[in-house]
């Protein structure tokens, strides 16, 4: 049921509800309830009204101005524990600055595709538009009745915020404090934190390459002894940039940099010096992923929460890399394929075996995502890179917190692409309506 809100000259703190609505919520006439709009709340006295139009509610002017209710869009309502939620109010933190935000407004329309199922206030904003002192945000509300589809408005802090942009530490903690778990994909973490969080759990750790942040010659030697070679990786790198593979041949260290052809040969002394320049890197066990005609293959698992409030796999996309690269994180010279199809192609699986492997991958990724939720706060949009070795074992390579949403386009799957964009908004609605 959708409601239009009208602000009238009524006695302050009053709310007029259609009889049928009040009845369905079990609210009595003259009952005092807390009306919430985003993070703002106000006590109101409910008056039941008989009306031929069941889709209109009336609030006194002070209620509208104190809650910053936008009366140009239609809302849903939910009621529990004496709290009446008018919503949803969903904020998408997408732009780095107001200028950039304005520039890309038309691109953000893709997040509003399912607005007919969302309703309420769906707005985009950037860091500089947040007014912590007055607890309000100036953002752009999706409003299809306006020529640009977006309308600048002053809004309360929302109950749900989806983050997809860099933020200052101050804003990050400020929003976390104000919005709590409704601020999702908030906290970013690096590869070392990820390993530290996951590895204590036997069930999860066994799917991760052994990692240390102590980049010393001794550790390099230990890894090489154990695994014949070792990766030197930046904590935060992505797309395979800045990754080295180190092996040893007759007391000489051989260093191969990703995407480069030349191999450096270093003595122990030179190696020590080389490592000291990379002290903020990580050493990692090399995983021998099953290749396909000399191409490295990895799989991007798109794990998202949706309108059910739970983790779901939106899709899996395999990348078949450049033949010479040491990682498959590569767009040029490679190709992509839908996950199940790739499993059948790469391993010769039949449909059923591919289904089971698919389920296994999703299960491992979901367990990790739930653990991350427990440790680092709420997430709802993750891009998890996994690989499969010769024995069919699943290795989790990396978890991306601000994942590239374009993966489905590499396999020309528009449905998956729109789902990737819509799921965080559907989840935000689930949160914003008090579930």
């Amino acid at each position: 049921m959708l409601y239009e809100v009208n602000a009238e000259a009524l006695s302050s703190n009053s709310l007029f509800l259609p009889e049928s609505t009040a009845k369905s919520f079990g609210i009595e006439n003259k009952q005092t309830v807390t009306l919430s709009f985003g993070k703002r709340k106000i006590p109101v006295t409910v008056n039941k009204v008989h009306s031929t139009n069941d889709s209109r509610i009336f609030v006194s002017k002070n209620v509208r101005s104190e809650l910053l209710i936008d009366t140009n869009v239609k809302y849903e309502m939910a009621y529990s524990n004496n709290e009446l939620i008018l919503g949803p109010i969903i904020g998408l933190l997408l732009g780095k600055s107001d200028v950039r935000l304005q520039k890309y407004l038309q691109n953000y329309l893709i997040y509003t595709m399912l607005y007919e199922q969302i309703n309420g206030v769906l707005f985009v904003f950037c860091e500089q538009q947040i007014d912590f002192a007055n607890e309000k945000i100036t953002g752009y509300v999706f409003d299809p009745s306006t020529p640009d589809n977006w309308r600048k408005a002053e809004l309360p802090f929302p109950r749900a915020v989806f983050r997809r942009v860099e933020l200052s530490k101050k804003t990050l903690t400020g929003l976390q404090e104000k919005i709590g778990a409704g601020f999702f994909n908030a906290q970013y973490f690096d590869k070392w934190q990820f390993w530290n969080w996951m590895s204590p759990y036997e069930e999860l750790g066994k799917h991760l390459a052994e990692t240390t942040n102590k980049v010393t010659l001794t550790n390099v030697n230990t890894f090489i002894e154990k695994y014949n070679g070792v990766y030197l990786k930046p904590k935060n790198g992505s797309r395979g940039q800045g990754i080295y593979y180190i092996s040893k041949k007759e007391n000489q260290y051989l260093i191969l940099e990703n995407y480069q052809d030349n191999i450096q040969q270093l003595s122990s002394e030179q190696m020590t010096k080389f490592l000291s320049k990379h002290s903020f890197f990580l050493l990692q066990q090399p995983i021998h992923l099953h290749t396909f005609e000399d191409r490295k293959v990895d799989y991007r698992v798109i794990l998202q929460k949706d309108g059910t409030g739970h983790w779901q796999c939106t899709g899996i996309i395999a990348r078949f890399g450049n033949t010479n690269a040491i990682s498959s994180n590569f767009k040029a010279n490679g190709f992509a394929m839908e996950g199940t199809l790739a499993l059948m192609t790469q391993f010769g699986y039949d449909e059923l075996t591919a289904f089971k492997k698919n389920q296994e991958i999703i299960s491992i990724c979901t367990k990790m995502a739930c653990t991350i939720d427990d440790i680092a706060g709420a997430y709802a949009d993750l891009g998890i890179d996994i690989g499969i070795d010769k024995d069919g074992k699943v290795w989790v390579i990396e978890m991306n917190k601000r994942p590239d949403h374009d993966f489905p386009l590499f396999i020309n799957d528009r449905k998956m692409y729109y789902s990737v964009k819509s799921n965080p908004v559907l989840y935000a609605k689930y949160i914003a309506m008090g579930n």
Binding site: M113, Q117, N358, C370, Y418
Partner: protein
């Protein structure tokens, strides 16, 4: 973590768990504990061991008269100070236990293709195998190692997937044993469905207007408004036994389909229609419904079978959609009557001539409508775990709920559309859901 269970011949009422687990389960210092296996609860002396951290020992007196197969890996959890060992799940099938044999029950293994994420004991049984008094069941347990069923007497499961309808008396007895933890046992007919859905604010605009066939005056009015109606058996499935009644001027045409052939009967006036229907059909068993001008593709009626399941988190979720096309000029779009199927998404993209944005919006609108149907059925007290809903699209792209296939909807329709992944996903869903019902599912619980 998963554990094997070994039974130790002893009367000490003891359960011994690996020392390393004591801490994880916060059982340090406890002397006794209540254990729960399926619906059976017993008090046990708690002890621990160091010899195998994947093994739990249980003294045989605790498992009196029943067996807990040793070839199975079980999950454990602590809740309200009770140690749960499971999941113990069941599937109630038609027939008698004496008639069961391995070839006959082979087909049920299809539900266990994703056993790797279910674990525990899964028992296939028949009504006469239930011992309500002792809370035991005589049936077949699934052995995941050799993928075969093994006969035995097992604890009664804590959640049951019903593959047959049951009498009200059996329902009451089951309820006493496991509360509401059994699903897919209800049958309802088209008229009941219409009565429920038409009272829902969200659904009534998506329902064809429907009247009871025995009420001929109502039928006549319906014909006056819509000129074309369907006469459908209340309990029919798969488009069998459906008549189309159309009116042109004063003349009526009754069309129907028998063995893939279309037939027509011309009737001169309403009295003739009434006479014909009353003599040919047992009208008490029929409803009459407004004919929706469904979209056609090359003169083939199309509608969508939406497959909705309760997922591993207990939430309604659409696992996929298959579009069905009727045979040319057939009045129904059922594959068993000569139609074909394709993946729902592809059909929608074609319908919107490649505009994938429109197709996606419509797809999600169909999903939402299907889930709303499930929620209404649930609010009527029906416990369903998976269901097939036929949703049609008319020429104005408005959605219509055509039919609900519940209890045991045929999921091979996914195979007709060559969508094996959808078929497997749907087949494995009931036991994922049963596991959640039994308290062992859910992403959170699964985590550690």
């Amino acid at each position: 973590m998963k554990f094997f269970i070994q039974t130790i011949p002893s009367t000490s009422s003891t359960i011994s768990i690996p020392f390393t687990e004591l801490d994880k389960l916060s059982l340090q210092g406890k002397q006794t504990i209540t254990i729960s296996i399926g619906v059976i609860q017993k008090n046990a002396v708690l002890s621990h061991h160091n010899d195998n951290d994947r093994c739990i020992y249980i003294s045989s007196d605790l498992l009196e008269a029943m067996s807990l197969p040793e070839f199975i890996e079980y999950e454990i959890k602590i809740q309200d100070d009770i140690l749960f060992i499971g999941p113990i799940l069941g599937m109630l099938v038609r027939g008698k236990i004496a008639e069961m044999n391995l070839p006959r029950i082979k087909i049920y293994k299809n539900y266990l293709i994703d056993y790797q994420h279910v674990n525990g004991l899964i028992v296939l049984f028949t009504s006469d195998g239930i011992n309500y008094k002792k809370k035991l069941v005589n049936g077949y347990a699934y052995n995941p190692i050799n993928k075969e069923w093994v006969e035995g007497i097992f604890p009664f499961p804590s959640a049951v997937f019903l593959r047959k309808s049951i009498k009200e008396s059996s329902r009451k007895k089951l309820q006493k044993l496991i509360g509401n933890n059994f699903f897919n046992s209800h049958i309802f007919n088209k008229w009941e469905m219409w009565e429920w859905f038409s009272k829902s604010e969200q659904l009534k605009q998506n329902l064809p207007e429907t009247v009871l066939a025995e009420n001929m005056e109502e039928v006549k009015k319906l014909m006056a408004v819509y000129q074309k109606t369907f006469i459908k058996p209340r309990a029919g499935m798969q488009g069998t036994g459906i008549f189309q009644l159309s009116m042109v001027g004063k003349e009526y045409t009754l069309s129907y389909r028998v063995k893939d052939k279309n037939f027509k009967t011309i009737l001169d006036n309403w009295e003739a229609v009434q006479l014909y229907l009353q003599s040919e059909l047992n009208l008490q068993n029929y409803i009459v419904q407004q004919k929706i001008p469904l979209l056609r593709n090359n003169n083939r009626v199309m509608d969508n079978r939406v497959i909705v399941v309760k997922d591993q988190n207990g939430a309604w979720s659409v696992s996929g959609m298959v579009t069905k096309f009727g045979d040319i000029d057939s009045i129904v779009s059922n594959i068993s009557s000569g139609g074909s199927a394709e993946k729902g998404w592809q059909a929608l993209v074609e319908m919107y001539q490649g505009d994938s944005k429109q197709a996606f919006k419509k797809y999600m609108e169909i999903e939402k409508l299907a889930i709303t149907c499930c929620e209404v059925l649930e609010s009527k007290g029906l416990h369903l775990g998976y269901i097939g809903i036929d949703i049609g699209i008319d020429e104005n792209h408005h959605l219509w709920v055509i039919e609900i296939n519940n209890r045991n909807p045929d999921m091979t329709i996914a195979l007709d559309a060559n969508d094996f992944q959808l078929y497997y996903k749907t087949k494995s869903a009931p036991f994922h859901y049963a596991k959640w019902l039994a308290g062992f599912g859910g992403e959170k619980r699964d985590a550690l």
